[in-house]
């Protein structure tokens, strides 16, 4: 676990400075070649998002050949009209989709994290019967592709009448074997047994020891697992596509994909393109803001998975 704290420290500047002086000492100036390479990468990675930003300010005619071309704003600015269009279309179903995405991502993500924290701590700090066997099975499960479970899960859920309810998305999202694995590896090192024993000697029960001693120490891993499982649920396409057919329950990704299919089919002149681009643009803002504002957590945290 030293790795993670080191990483965080260095991002706060500690090693950054020494690396900078080292660089200067060795090559005597900023590295032009490296910076050009980075510039090319940044352009590649950011252009699609830039395009989407620009496109969200255009009407359908503008998308097909406005005055600004595909990569620049038109003379006319239609962003507000497009947002208005999103409210008008099918009684604002887009906003309902966005709300559904939040509901699924947060309940699935938080739920999966709670389960992972409890289980990871249990695996790390107790030596109960069957622990080794269960953890071995869990490790194998990390390699089972979750999409292989979608169709059987659909059939199971339909037998108990849960298909086409929010539970059909939320409950399977609670499953995060990788989260449990990360949490166990982290808890093993970050929560010293001596500390737990000390709390016990002071008369704290197991639950109290967990909440007051272990939980604060596990915080970096909790943020990581939460982030990964929220993104995982927010991103999930196969599961909601399979288990939901009621348009009012769809997450924004499946909903927008449906609009695209409709527009591509081209029947009846459904010109939704401007709504699709604006809807897509609005839907990516929350996660981008979350990532930018939680930088210091995820940058250190994402390396957790690669710990030895």
């Amino acid at each position: 676990m030293a790795l993670v704290t080191d990483t965080l420290d260095s991002q706060q500047g500690g090693r950054g400075r020494s690396a900078a002086s080292r660089t200067r000492a060795r090559s005597g100036g900023p590295r032009i070649g490296s910076h050009i390479f980075l510039l090319i990468l940044v352009i590649y990675f950011i252009t699609p998002i830039w395009w989407l930003t620009v496109a969200s300010t255009k009407d359908t005619a503008g998308l097909f050949g406005g005055s600004g071309g595909p990569l620049w704003f038109d003379d006319e600015f239609h962003f507000v009209d497009n947002v208005q269009g999103l409210f008008d279309r099918q009684n604002g179903i887009y906003w309902r989709w966005l709300g559904n995405s939040f509901l699924y991502a947060i309940s699935g993500g938080v739920g999966a994290t709670v389960l992972a924290v409890l289980a990871g701590y249990g695996f790390a700090k107790y030596r109960f019967r069957g622990r080794g066997a269960f953890f071995g099975i869990l490790l194998g499960a990390v390699m089972v592709p979750l999409t292989a479970l979608v169709i059987p899960t659909f059939v199971l859920l339909s037998e108990v009448g849960l298909v086409n309810t929010i539970w059909a998305v939320i409950l399977p999202s609670l499953l995060s074997p990788f989260g449990v694995y990360l949490m166990r590896v982290f808890a093993q090192e970050a929560v010293p047994d001596e500390l737990l024993d000390a709390a016990r000697i002071d008369g704290a029960g197991e639950l109290r020891t967990f909440f007051t001693i272990a939980l604060p120490l596990l915080r970096p891993a909790i943020v990581t697992v939460l982030l990964l499982s929220v993104v995982g649920t927010w991103n999930n396409f196969f599961l909601p596509l399979a288990v939901l057919s009621d348009p009012l329950l769809l997450p924004v990704t499946v909903g927008l994909n449906g609009w695209t299919a409709l527009s591509n089919a081209g029947s009846g002149g459904e010109a939704l393109w401007n709504l699709i681009t604006t809807g897509a643009f609005i839907s990516i803002i929350p996660l981008i803001i979350a990532f930018l504002s939680l930088q210091k957590y995820w940058q250190g945290g994402l390396s957790l998975g690669s710990l030895k």
Partner: protein
Amino acid sequence: MATTTAPTSSHRAEAHQQVKHRPDRNYRRRQRWGWLFVAPFALIFLTFLVLPLVFAFRMSLFTSTLATGDRFVGFANYAKAFTDPLFLDGLLTVAKFGLIMIPAQMIVALIAALVLDNLATWASKFSRLMIFIPYAVPVVIGALMWGFLYSPRFGPASTLFALFGAEAPNFLAQDSIFGSLVNIVTWQWAGYYMIIIYAALRGIDPGIYEAAVLDGASDRQIATRIKVPMISSSLVMVVIFALIGTLQFFTEPQVLRGVAQGAIPTDYTPNMYAFSLAFSYSQFNYASAISFALGIVVFVFSFFFLFLTRKQSGLK
């Protein structure tokens, strides 16, 4: 994946604890709490992983007909799957994607991480964030966006190519769709892998480089002889993620299918095949067999890869 790697300290602690606590009845009683902590997860694990797997396996052994209902057919569905050209073509397609896409993602991620690790300017910090940003874009939205960008009607390609006096290729045609999909996946995931690799690079003690510089090592030598070997466990991890992701390829081709009319069939990848079998043709039994077979293939590949790289990954 790395339980066996932190053994010394925890084993010692365990032995120590056992010696210390053996006579302690409280110790034994306390260990039962472990099950209580694990139980909620175990319940979900059983319901949404073990049960569907068992269920899928059971379903895959039957065939369902309107006239006679469910009929036990043993492994006939698997025999059918592994001789079904549509399934085998799908497997071949994802194998081809794996061969091109995983190295593409790895090379971009690794080189970007190495360059970023060598620089400590505001520009490199900014670049790191920008390269990562696509990970925050849902895969469906990413695919929709690229669908627009590729489109001859909306996209900037024709404008960009016109700058050089060339005509833009049709990215959505049958013979270019493969490369177009590789590009989308690389765009989406390389930044995420870069962050994992970058964080691992930051974990190396810089003192090692100073010694190498004194010995006259160039930047390139430091990168290839010191940095890459030292982060091999992270690299193995990233390849496993990419491998599992690639073999279950679904979202991007499914989304692009609408735009690239005719270039992507419904059975393009095994997951798409299973999906269309289940939801367009209601062949749930055969779809389960396909899913289960794919799951086994992914599992075997990941396991085999971990076995091959057990030295690099630190797993023994």
